[in-house]
Amino acid sequence: MWAYSIRRLLYNVPVFLGILLFVMGALRVNDPIYGFLGKNASEEEYKAFQEKAGLDKPFWLQYAIFVKGVITFDFSTESWDQPGLSVGERLRRAIGPSLSITIPALILSTAVSVVVGLVSAYFRGQGLDRTLVFIAVLGMSISFLVYIILGQYFGAYVPNRYFNREVFSIHGYDGWSQLNLPVDWAYYCLLPVVISVVVSMGYDTRYYRAVMVEETGRDYMITAQAKGASKPKVMFVHMLKNAMIPIITRVAITLPFLITGSILLETYFGIPGMGQTLISAVNAKDFPVVQAFTAVFAALYILTNILTDVLYALVDPRIRLA
């Protein structure tokens, strides 16, 4: 197992180096300094800024410095847009608000989707199943943005007007420090969480239903039924256990997105999480922040992929990691 993990890690080193190369290249296609200072920056200003940001060095040297920084977790480069704040500091500040939305959303949507998937598979081919599948397809055909806009209107504006006070907040959330009571969490985060659960329900339900339906065709299901186990017991005890593997895989795949947060939700609700920080950095041409964020996202993504494979082997004894 350890040998496997380490080999996977080594195999992903060129991938990660490639990502950093691509990101750094992409960010330098447009001169980032002129982008930040404006087209009319004078020669001296430009030179001074270039030297300060270390962009006057040859590309390979910048690459080496950046790679070294990422490997040693050294994110002390100063943000351009918010001088005085290091990139690492901005990362640390943004991570909390993102997680306080995405973790509950992931747990909730997985739980609900698995149950709906099970129910759908249980009534496979019948009216209920068809209706659920059709609703899932309907839900998938509507844009995320529409869910957010309407969710905010019906979830916040309408109840606020009805009760004549703020039931749910639509802006003003800025991190852990505001969450003293569970009620505070509901006030700031419940609405975005519910919206993101609704959005992912369509995709998740379909996937879990497919998983369950595939499991129902297995031999052990027939055996279980033959020895007289009731249908609910077969479905919820025998099958759910075996369906755990694909469920874990899917959850593990979404883990890096916990940190990325939902760019759209955060932008719309004004939550200062990772997604919004990235977008505002892009808009403010804050080059070091964009560079560092992308590197961190990619690193997390690769690590969780490896973790998924290892977890897979832990859960399923049939899989040998060679």
Binding site: N12, P14, V15, F16, G18, I19, F22, V23, A26, L27, V29, N30, G35, V137, L138, M140, S141, I142, S143, F144, L145, V146, I149, L150, Q152, Y153, Y157, R209, A210, V213, E214, P256, F257, T260, I263, L264, T267, Y268, G275, L278, I279, V282, N283, V290, F293, T294, F297, A298, Y301, I302, N305
Partner: protein, 398 residues
């Protein structure tokens, strides 16, 4: 080498695949809907609706869809809008010419002599003044009659066109107007063309790129496979929205800024991975089959074997990849546009939805509803279609 003539060759439209597809009623309906959308896009592309039409004001702002009855305040406001527009033209030194320029979609200023126009305008203004005295227009019955009178005067100044013009007017106002008074119906219809354009270009390019790379990787193996695998692992290790944002960011300020080119590049760079993966896997399988070995032993080159014998057998995967990418591109356009990195000139569903965010807060739903329903129809039909395709080609798929 003559092909064996003894086997009966069915035309493609009577093949088993097509018959199985046709048995799925829902999928056939979906196909018809998709074709309707494509035809509309073609008509728009041919000039049925121009970009200028979508940008021109057709009436007062924020008129709701489907000719819903409106509160008196809004009706009064609309009357004032028309009168103000008329006054602007009348106040010009060359009023005649200025009046000629006033046009709102199919509606022009009435072709009355100038003094008469001024007289009617003054009369309407007096009515408007007297209505300002009422605190609540809903309460006073005489206010209601005055409002109707005012509307009649405005209708005299801006008479509804007849014949074809009336039809045009009906269409222009059928889905209401946005805050700038632009026709939602025209904008939503024009956006079909934009969406189809983005979907087609992205889906075709990404499937071609993914297919060629995936096919080459699977067929040639060794370093080609290593390279392609590295490339797609790299690209798929960057979260997809981040990759989109990064590439769109690359083009800000270049000559391509404002065109659809950055959108195409961003989408293709993201969406080629799916087809590439599946086609690489399928090629690995096909490579082992006897007919491929037969082709090789007959002396065909590697490239010829791959292009003529292996890749055509992955067409079904390309078709499925195409429909999945088409949907993904249309949905991603909305997100990218909302973030300010997508479509920048002219209308698109993304622009309409993003714009309607502030309208919804004020209780105006026409624009978001129109854009969502137009998009919903296309995406839903394509979703059903791609499901049916997967069913037809892959009996194991559930």
């Amino acid at each position: 080498m003559n092909p064996p003539t003894s086997t009966v060759r069915r035309p493609w439209y009577r093949s088993r695949t097509v018959r199985r597809f046709l048995r799925n009623r829902l999928a056939v309906v979906a196909l018809m809907i998709v074709v309707t959308y494509l035809l509309t896009a073609l008509l728009v592309f041919g000039g049925m609706i121009t970009l200028d039409d979508t940008e021109a004001r057709v009436s007062a702002g924020s008129i709701p869809a489907l000719f819903q009855p409106q509160p008196p305040e809004k009706r009064l406001e609309d009357c004032q809008f028309w009168l103000d527009e008329l006054k602007k033209a009348l106040d010009q030194t060359d009023a005649k010419a200025a009046l000629g320029d006033v046009q709102f979609g199919a509606v022009d200023v009435a072709s009355l002599p100038l003094p008469e126009l001024r007289e009617t305008h003054e009369q309407a203004r007096r009515l408007d003044q007297s209505l300002a005295g009422y605190a609540d227009l809903n309460d006073a019955p005489e206010a209601a009659t005055k409002l109707v009178e005012l509307e009649e005067l405005v209708a005299q100044l801006f008479p509804l066109p007849e014949g074809l013009g009336a039809v045009q007017r009906f269409i222009e106002l059928s889905l209401g107007t946005d805050r700038q008074g632009r026709s939602i119906a025209l904008r939503a219809t024009y956006s079909i063309m934009v969406a189809v354009q983005i979907g087609l270009v992205t889906a075709v390019l990404s499937v071609v790129i993914g297919g060629l790379l995936g096919g080459a990787a699977g067929y040639f193996g060794s370093w080609v496979d290593g390279g392609v695998t590295w490339l797609y692992t790299t690209f798929s290790s960057i979260p997809y929205l981040v990759l989109l944002v990064l590439i769109a960011y690359m083009f800000i300020g270049t000559v391509f800024d404002g065109t659809l080119f950055p959108v195409y590049v961003a989408f293709c760079a993201t969406f080629w991975i799916g087809p590439c993966r599946t086609i690489r896997g399928e090629t690995l399988k096909i490579k082992q089959l006897e007919y491929v070995q037969a082709a090789r032993s007959m002396g065909f080159s590697q490239l010829h074997t791959m292009v003529r014998h292996v890749l055509p057998n992955t067409t079904h995967l390309m078709l499925v990849g195409f429909s999945l990418n088409f949907i993904a591109a249309i949905k991603a356009e909305v997100i990218l546009t909302f973030l300010g990195l997508g479509v920048k000139k002219g209308p698109s569903w993304g622009i309409m939805i993003a714009q309607s965010g502030s309208e919804v807060v004020n209780g105006f739903f026409s624009q978001i509803a129109a854009a969502t329903i137009f998009m919903f129809g296309l995406v839903l039909a394509f979703n059903i279609l791609s499901d049916a395709l997967q069913d037809v080609f892959d009996p194991k798929h559930v």
